[in-house]
């Protein structure tokens, strides 16, 4: 018999059916992955399980008993613990106090038995392979991964039988992630059932026994991990055949829109030369430190070039952001949240920021009507989800912030788009939108310089690939005949290309 049985769960929010007749089962003692794009309903489902919200209809069975918690405390008492992305810890209290919150051990006089609490916490920490942490340490001083351990510790002390983890690795580095996976496997051995919500497919294949896919509030599939492939998972998530992920490519023209000759920058770029054609997606590949991001910066004027010339549409161009924008060359920075938008300013001001002169009337005043109009156009075109144009960008979701950054670039009506890692940190479905966007851009005669670490994306989108290493272009490949191995071989350098390294690099992509 299954440990958790979810039957016909429905939940509607104004304007959206967050859960649409969802039914599936979770087996005891498994790591059960729950995947789906933003808006698939994962959050709503775990909120219901954690009693943070209630379903409109439907039923949940936990270990054969009906499970309908009214408060988070009910959920905890039933053995269901949830670790949200935002931790629920007291930063100024010790690890022991946090783990034993609400279950403090007292002496016969009713005072806290600190020694016993430390011992209990230490016992839990040992169980979680975290004996190096002192129960006395204040939680606020811990790293993210360690705080997560404390959260798991809280779940253990409550003898939780179902542990729900929401995107637990989103703020962890590789070492912390590995440590967390160790803990999750340990818990599974101890019989704890884990519902693991993530959109990182690599992790799911590493950890999960079973995987459930949701899309648009509906349950799509629940299958043992052995029966699914990466491709089938993505197809389930986006509801579309993978072969159609990359839009069809039209041939580029032979009309040069930008020519770079001998571009060099102090300790970053050496004698970089290439031509970019109208209608072309020219990809720049390379490992980190290869100079590919520096190339983008140098073209936009964000990194001072020491030598070399750039010609845009037949005219010499001196790189500086305002010169670039005047010549309709735009640059989408890698860190959109920090550099692509200004969080504390409203959406409309962010979108119009690059074209303020065009929004100024002949008396020198900003035409706020025109600003709104321009912003509305972009909000509609890119489907930016914002209640009003006056909303501060910091109140938007990450994906919509990315779109605002892109919208700002598009107001310039660009001819050349320098895009740095345009799909980084983006859901699979939105990735498709971005791919389609890039294809649309070049179809209209624009040109895209795609600086990317995602080799499948490069192969799927570009016409040509420049491979960089140590600040130099080491190869120019025709995408039609290039393979992932070709790109990696040049990116790594022949002499260093041990098979494991290539395999490892390859595994990161896709």
């Amino acid at each position: 018999m299954s440990f958790v049985r979810i039957e016909h769960l429905n939940k509607a929010y104004p304007g959206v059916q967050a859960l649409d007749d969802v039914s599936f089962e979770i087996q005891r003692g498994q790591v059960h992955a729950l995947v789906g794009e933003n808006g698939a309903g994962k959050s709503t489902l775990i909120k219901i399980l954690a009693a943070a919200t209630r379903p409109d209809s439907g039923q949940i069975w936990l270990d054969g008993q009906p499970y309908a918690p009214q408060t988070p405390k009910d959920a905890l008492q039933a053995g269901v613990a949830t670790i949200f992305q935002i931790f629920n810890l007291l930063p100024d209290r010790s690890i022991a106090h946090n783990i034993l919150l609400g279950r403090e051990i007292r002496t016969r006089l009713g005072l806290l038995d600190l020694a016993a609490m430390d011992e209990a916490a230490a016992h839990i920490l040992r169980q979680l392979n975290a004996a190096h942490l002192s129960p006395r340490q204040a939680v606020g001083t811990l790293k993210v991964g360690e705080k997560q351990i404390v959260e798991i510790g809280k779940a253990l002390i409550n003898q939780s039988r179902l542990l729900i983890m929401d995107e637990p690795t989103s703020a962890l580095n590789q070492v912390e992630t590995d440590a967390l996976f160790g803990v999750i496997r340990l818990l599974r051995e101890q019989g704890v059932t884990i519902l693991y919500v993530s959109h990182r497919l690599d992790e799911i294949f590493e950890l999960a026994d079973t995987v459930t896919v949701m899309r648009d509030g509906a349950h799509i599939s629940t299958r043992p991990i052995a029966e699914v492939t990466r491709d089938s998972l993505i197809e389930d998530m986006i509801g579309r055949k993978l072969s159609s992920i990359f839009p069809a490519r039209r041939p580029a023209t032979r009309d040069v829109i930008m020519e770079v000759d001998g571009l060099s920058a102090e300790r970053a770029l050496y004698d970089v030369s290439f031509k970019l054609y109208r209608g072309e997606v020219l990809a720049v590949a390379g490992l980190s430190g290869s100079g590919k991001t520096e190339l983008g910066k140098a073209l936009f004027g964000d990194l001072r070039a020491s030598r070399g010339t750039i010609t845009v549409k037949g005219e010499r161009y001196k790189p500086a952001p305002w010169n670039a924008i005047r010549r309709r060359l735009i640059y989408l920075p890698e860190d959109r949240k920090a550099e692509g938008v200004i969080q504390e300013l409203p959406v409309r001001r962010n979108i119009g920021l690059s074209v303020l002169p065009a929004l100024t009337n002949r008396f020198g005043f900003l035409d706020l009507e025109r600003e709104r109009e321009l912003a509305w156009q972009q909000v509609r075109a890119l489907d930016i989800k914002t209640p009003t144009l006056d909303q501060l960008v910091l109140n938007l979701s990450g994906g919509n912030q990315q779109k605002v950054a892109l919208a700002k670039c598009l107001t310039v009506d660009p001819d050349i788009l320098v895009l740095v890692e345009p799909t980084q940190g983006i859901d699979v479905g939105v990735k498709f939108e971005i791919y389609q966007f890039i294809a649309d851009q070049v179809a209209g005669g624009r040109a895209v310089l795609l600086i990317s670490s995602e080799i499948p994306e490069i192969l799927g989108l570009s016409h040509r690939v420049l491979v960089m290493r140590d600040g130099r272009i080491v190869a120019e490949l025709d995408t039609a005949s290039a393979t992932q191995e070709d790109i990696l071989r040049f990116a790594v350098g022949e002499h260093k290309s041990s098979p494991e390294f290539v395999a490892q690099e390859g595994a990161q992509h896709g």
């Binding site: 988070p72 305002w322 692509g340 200004i342 504390e344």
Partner: protein, 336 residues
Amino acid sequence: MTTTTKTAPDSAARQDWQRKVVSFLGEQGFIVIFILWAFYLTVSTDNFATTDNFFTILRQATIVGIAAIGAHFVILMGDLDLSAAAVLSLAGVVMAELMVKHGVAPLIAALAALGVGAAVGLVNGVIVTKLRINAIIATLGTSSILGGIAFTITKGKTIFGERGNDPIDSIEFLSRQRVLGDTLPVPVIILFVCYIIAFIVLRRTAYGARVFAVGNNDRAAWLSGINVDRIKITTFMLSGTLAGFAGIMQVARQGTATAGMGADFLFPILTAVVLGGASLTGGRGKIFNTLIAAIFLTSITNGMILLGIGIYTQNIVSGVILVVALSLDRLRTLQP
């Protein structure tokens, strides 16, 4: 993924309410204190709540108020201009020197004084942007230089004209003239016009939009094609020019100029901006709150004189107010 809060509705409502109070106190708290202070003075003195005293306060607020506009702009970019007082002195000295000793026409002398302010602003801006020196240090340095120049010009003496034939008398109207049936003082009109222009510049021009952008995130502003250095230099020049204008107004008011005439203004200028709620880290501030704060500060001095409190106590009170203003700023940034 949307994030989840585990707070129950009632405690969420309470938090919301608390946040509103904190945010109100953070942004408008000094206005509450202002009202209480005005109420207290109205009750305990005979002369506070009179039209005459009202205009006296506004007139006295003019010099601090005008210079505070420049300081406000600079703080919006996340910098501080400590040279305002020194610019005020030097501009005043240059103005008086040209008129009294060289017989230069008032308009030309005034332009020269404004030019001094703009030039100092240019130097400040270039030091801050091109040499990448912290604005506090840079403007502290130029202050010292300007003070030296002002003393070299005056040789430590007070500049004034002969009685009965004083060229400075010709600009006295800037301080003493009243219009509209002899009620509204000219300096008060100048003060309000300056603030209205400043408001329009900040909220309705590309330059104003850029100042806010640079103050909030200079990196993103730069990548949006904004010439950050140029905006900063322009703003320091504006700040210098306004300090120069305040210098002219001060010469008109006291009829003389000394190398140290601006020294007492630095503190109220900066206090007005901070008390008005402009964030020291840049990007946030309301210009009219700076005006109200400048008037409030003047009313404190005014009120303490009416109450018969000595000058040293006034200094203590001013200091306390600055610290309170800074705490309110912290309160805003600490709020959840």
